[in-house]
Symmetry: none
Subunit: 254 residues, 2 copies
């Protein structure tokens, strides 16, 4: 049986490249008021910091337990579902969710025992395309077109509030079906993308193409598919055989 | 017919005895992002103030037009419905609404042409009983019991967000966006699966595996991804290069 605390513990808030330590403190307070605890910081400009502590206004436990990471993939470690907040509609093919839809999906995943991340970018620039490419969907808070940028901690508050309301509305949750295979986590997906990129090199796919664009496109495709571990093993096997053929081809053509 | 702008213009945010000018600025920004304009300040400790302007982050119009009043009753002038935010359940006999219920009632009133106020108390002490007595209902944001106090501007953001969502939900839905690329149709997907199966043969992937099971598994994976035509072209390109390598490998090893 999932209680509120169990569900909340599976949902983390990931702040990427935050410029102002005050926003980290305000975000800690925001998630704490809504019953959440887990904050992950990816290359914050300053942390720990007096201003962060001051604005946490007592949510010191959240700051004390916050992870600090050099890479987004580390902040997403173990995550099965990552939802990236973005004010802009970009040329990305990620599905776009409202905060309410995102809360419903996040809660459903957490109820199945999955780990979920809400990912928030830098105050000015938001999430970069490569960061969004690590997410399964994009969340857009419905701000007005001519003044669309919420303060970072306000965006965190809106999402934490929607998640809290969804959890209170849903409980008690029915027991979810047990999936046959675990969904792949962020680190497994990274390993797969590395293998894929290496294979594309080996089979000389990149001639005349820009590898970064192609890999971004492929990441989006495979993120959408939300693969499980068995599927990943099959794909690794295919890549390995393609690499073997490439090695044979080159060993003889040299 | 009410449009978004008309409705928003009938809803004001009233901040009572605000201690920190920064919170006034943050509140101005919060309501502006959600399409609101009208801020009324009742005996703010400091206003106008540099910090308020800094945190408004461009919502200067909201601050410039904000009314400043000596009494709450003046801030509520012309109002037909006043809803007071309160973290605490007091011994008052006001009905208690969730933010979502409050947004629905506020919107219904605004749609009838009424003037509506959302009333927010002092950062530390909230609304006094005499202030709540001027409200028609109390709104409680569902925070956790052991850490119940949202920052003032965060509470403003949550209410403004709920009101914005309620207004957008009332309007006829916009036309769905035209996707940049067409989703692949069934025939295109079949062609892709044929190419994939042939490639698996060519790179000798099937040794010891049952091709039918593997192909079923891969079909499920790629069906879930709902690929577009451009993505299919990329995958065809990768398969073709893997096939080329396999042909080279075999042409020389025979």
């Amino acid at each position: 049986m999932n209680d509120l605390h169990d569900l909340a513990a599976r949902i983390r808030y990931v702040l990427v490249r935050t410029s102002h330590p005050g926003n980290i403190g305000s975000a800690a307070r925001a998630i704490r008021t809504m019953g959440f605890q887990r904050l992950e910081l990816v290359t914050p400009v300053r942390f720990p910091d007096r201003e962060a502590s001051a604005l946490a206004a007592g949510a010191d436990d959240v700051l004390a337990e916050a992870g600090v990471h050099a890479e987004l993939v580390d902040g997403l470690a173990g995550c099965n579902l990552a939802l990236g907040l973005s004010a802009r509609r970009r040329g990305v093919t990620l599905p776009e969710l409202s905060p309410r839809e995102a809360a419903a999906q996040a809660l459903a995943a957490a109820a199945r025992g999955e780990q979920v991340a809400l990912v928030f970018g830098n105050e000015r620039s938001g999430l970069e395309n490569e960061e969004l490419a690590r997410c399964h969907a994009m969340v857009r808070i419905p701000s007005v077109d001519d003044f669309s940028s919420l303060n970072l901690s306000q965006a965190v508050q809106v999402m934490a509030y929607e998640l809290r309301v969804a959890m209170l509305d849903e409980l008690p949750a029915p027991l979810p079906p047990v999936p046959a295979e675990l969904p792949a986590d962020a680190a497994q997906m990274e390993k797969f993308y590395e293998h894929l990129a290496q294979t594309l090199d080996d089979i000389e796919f990149h001639k005349g193409r820009t590898p970064t664009t192609i890999m971004l496109r492929l990441r989006k495709l495979f993120q959408r598919a939300q693969m499980d571990e068995r599927e990943l093993r099959v794909l690794h096997g295919i890549l390995a055989d393609a690499q073997r053929m490439a090695a044979l081809a080159k060993g003889t053509s040299d």
